[in-house]
């Protein structure tokens, strides 16, 4: 009897001993895909995709209005003579496999930089993870920066807002760890790590120094989530001590929302966890004139992805020629600045600003009557005029490179 039990135990242990690693290798669960390494990822450097001054950039049009907006970006780039080549990768929203997504991620790894719309995940299968989140987690794009700035010429509820939102982008509530422990009881995990919080806080304070900002406000809910948000807050306080020249305070998320709609001018740079950042950026975008204006930047240690600031697909207005192209064009300008094509970026940014503020050509979401194409054509008109005037100069590193070597 004892012998059989022993044998059975042995069998069991050997069985489990084999199957556990085998399962890990064979089928990656959503958890594995998202969190193979919860901390900063080590990446072997791949040579940059820049040849003869031209950059290759991955373009993920995504769903809804994404493809039309990308068409406008290409058109404006063509007229501006921008030395960027796009590698377009389509992701099938209905597909149940993650093949397209993996290819998109590989493509961004190769090129280092991407511009994207919002990618839809229509599959109802719980194994198919949200592609936007997977992309950010896989590329370790731990920071999302949205620069919320009022545009003169747009009727909005608040004037002269200038707030930077720096949002944790890979963990927190978006860890996608949910399960039904008992029937009728679902648990969702919120993950906060010290390493990621610290990286983010450092990014925020460095950003302040670099751009001459004065104050960082940490947005949290540490009075309720004492451990998770508590850690985030504690880390930001600790990092703040290393930057005595920058003011630091903290505010609870519910109060923050109230303060934002009542008196947004008190904020400078906001440092937030994942979900709060999403809420705060949507609130401010609402105050400024909606989803069609602002651009967002996602940075990791190795890659950068540019997209519209609020991540809306805009399926309802797709193909109607009324979508506001400004957000995606602003994202493309951010991208050009990141790549170092400053003079091209300047030309396109000026053209956008002139169209909004001087010519007042607005799409319906801003209360105007113009179609998307009207807006784009007007921008192109300005781009042509501006690039005639200014000599496109080579980026400064080109000039200095010769001296250093």
């Amino acid at each position: 009897m004892a012998g059989t039990l022993c044998a059975r135990l042995n069998k069991l242990s050997s069985f489990s001993g084999i199957t556990v690693p085998a399962r890990k290798v064979a089928a990656l669960s959503a958890y594995d895909v998202q969190h193979k390494h919860p901390f900063a990822k080590k990446v072997t450097p791949i040579p940059k995709a820049k040849y003869g001054g031209r950059h290759a950039v991955t373009m993920l049009p995504g769903g809804g209005i994404g493809p039309e907006l990308m068409g406008y970006v290409k058109e404006v780039f063509r007229y501006g003579g921008v030395p960027v080549d796009f590698e377009t990768v389509q992701i099938d929203p209905k597909s149940d496999s993650n093949e397209d997504l993996e290819y998109a991620i590989t493509s961004i790894r190769r090129n280092g930089v991407a511009i994207k719309g919002n990618i839809e995940t229509k599959s109802l299968d719980t194994d198919v993870i949200s592609r936007n989140v997977a992309l950010r987690n896989e590329l370790d794009l731990f920071v999302n920066v949205v620069h919320c700035q009022s545009c003169p010429g747009i009727k909005a509820r608040q004037k002269d807002i200038d707030i930077i939102i720096i949002r944790q982008n890979t963990e927190g509530e978006y860890a996608m760890l949910e399960h039904e422990s008992v029937h009728g009881v679902v648990e969702s995990m919120k993950v906060v790590t010290e390493e990621n919080s610290e990286r983010l806080a450092r990014y925020a304070f460095d950003y302040c120094r670099l751009h001459g900002r004065k104050k960082v406000t940490t947005v949290h809910k540490a009075n309720i989530m004492k451990l998770s948000d508590g850690l985030f807050l504690e880390v930001s306080k600790r990092v703040a001590k290393e930057y005595p020249d920058i003011q630091h305070d903290a505010m609870i998320i519910d109060n923050t929302c109230m303060q934002l709609v009542a008196n947004p001018h008190q904020f400078d740079v906001m440092l937030t966890t994942n979900l709060y950042g999403s809420i705060v950026s949507n609130v401010i975008c609402g105050l400024l004139g909606g989803a069609g204006l602002l651009s967002g930047r996602n940075y990791g240690d190795h890659y950068a992805v540019f997209e519209p600031g609020t991540r809306n697909t805009g399926t309802a207005i797709a193909g109607k020629n009324i979508a506001n192209p400004i957000a995606m064009l602003n994202a493309s300008v951010d991208m050009l600045e990141h790549l170092g094509h400053d003079s091209h970026a300047e030309v396109i940014r000026t053209a956008i600003n002139k169209t909004i503020s001087e010519d007042h050509i607005h799409t319906p979401d801003l209360g105007g009557q113009a179609t998307s194409i009207d807006v784009v054509q007007n921008i192109i008109k300005h781009v042509q005029a501006l690039s005639k005037k200014c000599q496109i100069v080579a980026p400064p590193h080109l000039m200095s490179r010769h001296d250093t070597t």
Binding site: I46, Y51, G52, G53, P83, E87, A394, M399, R401
Partner: protein, 380 residues
């Protein structure tokens, strides 16, 4: 719209019925840049600056041809000319000045520089190699493509040879260790091998190519070429949609002369690339018709694909300027002047297709001058 249809060269519209459309031709039909020409391309009023190195031999004559065509097509490009030469050192501009100009402009059009077989100064590095090393022009791209209407042994060749240009056999590290024994070092590094492999795959991705072939001799040089091959394999994993193949260089040369249509993009170390460039240029009409370009991450030098100075033809008005013209067309596409690039390319194709005006190397009787006039009258 009328503009759009006009821009499509005749060759793509009239495929003879009795010839089977091969895979290569299909690809030309589907992704030819001429088909995607968009009518209202912006024409910037400010002139783009470009460095110009006429080179030795017939170089100055060919550059003159390019200037004539540019003038006729009203291309908004300004040239900064530098006479750079190794065989004629007294007249040569200082290398630093030329480099500074290329760095500033980002683009350069260059003829062929003659290199003496014996170094008079004892220096092992030629002027060409110095220029490449200082500007880090690591990737040489030669697009070998059959010309319309030129009847040769092989038709429908369309392959791209991408060659590493800064290391390998061209490291200029040679010494005589014992009298009568000379050692020449061939350097292969992982970083540069990966860089050229990635260049090749990115080129393939950008130009809708399907296959990349690594050319090597790893069965003999197991460590050096082995490293090159392994680096290519590693980078190939990042490109699941592009087929990766490898071939040994001696077999490759045989395959190219017997069945060149099987190749798409080839990535090679330095010396093999040089040989393959010349070999395959020979298959499509010789050194006078194949354009090439050398890339660093910041700048590009456009030049003929097979480098021969053709010094014996100087002043005889017989050299073929096609290579130089196609290189300049490539340059225009690179700086977003696609419209002018296509204009010149289509004019060259039309003249060759008609077959009435050809230089001697393509079996014609025309002089360089007549050929250029024909091209200029076909700019439309």
């Amino acid at each position: 719209m009328a503009h759009l249809t006009r821009a499509i060269p005749n060759i793509f519209l009239k495929v003879p019925l009795n010839t089977t459309v091969t895979g290569v031709l299909k690809r030309t039909l589907s992704c030819s840049p001429t088909l995607s020409i968009q009518a209202p391309v912006s024409r910037p009023e400010n002139h783009t600056k470009c460095t110009l190195i006429p080179g030795d031999g017939v170089g100055p004559e060919l550059v003159h041809c390019v200037l004539e065509v540019f003038k006729a097509a009203q291309v908004p490009v300004e040239f900064e000319t530098f006479f750079l030469s190794e065989v004629n050192q007294a007249m040569s501009a200082p290398l630093e000045e030329v480099e500074e100009s290329i760095n500033r402009n980002g683009i350069c059009l260059k003829g062929v520089l003659a290199t003496p077989d014996y170094s008079h100064t004892g220096e092992l590095e030629t002027l060409n190699m110095k220029l490449r090393r200082n500007l880090d022009l690591y990737a040489n791209v030669v697009h070998v493509k059959s010309l319309p209407g030129v009847k040769l042994r092989h038709q429908n060749i369309d392959c791209v040879i991408i060659r590493e240009m800064t290391e390998g056999e061209y490291s200029a590290l040679e010494h005589e260790s014992v009298k009568g024994v000379v050692e020449c070092l061939k350097i292969v590094t992982k970083r540069k091998s990966q860089r050229i492999a990635k260049f090749a795959f990115d080129y393939a991705t950008k130009n809708n190519r399907k296959k990349v072939t690594a050319v090597h001799k790893a069965n003999i040089m197991k460590l050096g070429d082995g490293l090159f091959l392994n680096s290519c394999k590693e980078i190939a994993k990042l490109y699941p949609k592009i087929e990766f193949e490898q071939i040994i260089v001696d077999n490759c040369t045989m395959q190219i002369v017997s069945n060149p249509q099987q190749f798409d993009v080839m990535v090679t170390p330095n010396l093999y690339g040089n040989i393959l460039d010349n070999l395959s240029s020979g298959l499509v009409g010789g050194a006078g018709v194949v354009a090439g370009a050398s890339y660093s991450s910041e700048c590009v030098v456009f030049e003929p694909g097979a480098r021969h100075t053709y010094a014996e033809a100087v002043g005889k008005n017989v050299a073929n300027p096609t290579a130089m013209l196609l290189a300049s067309a490539k340059m225009l596409s690179h700086i977003n002047l696609q419209y002018y690039g296509d204009l010149i390319r289509n004019a060259v194709n039309r003249v060759l297709k008609a077959g009435k005006v050809r230089t001697k190397d393509l079996g014609g009787q025309a002089t360089t001058q007549e050929y250029i006039f024909a091209i200029i009258s076909n700019l439309r």
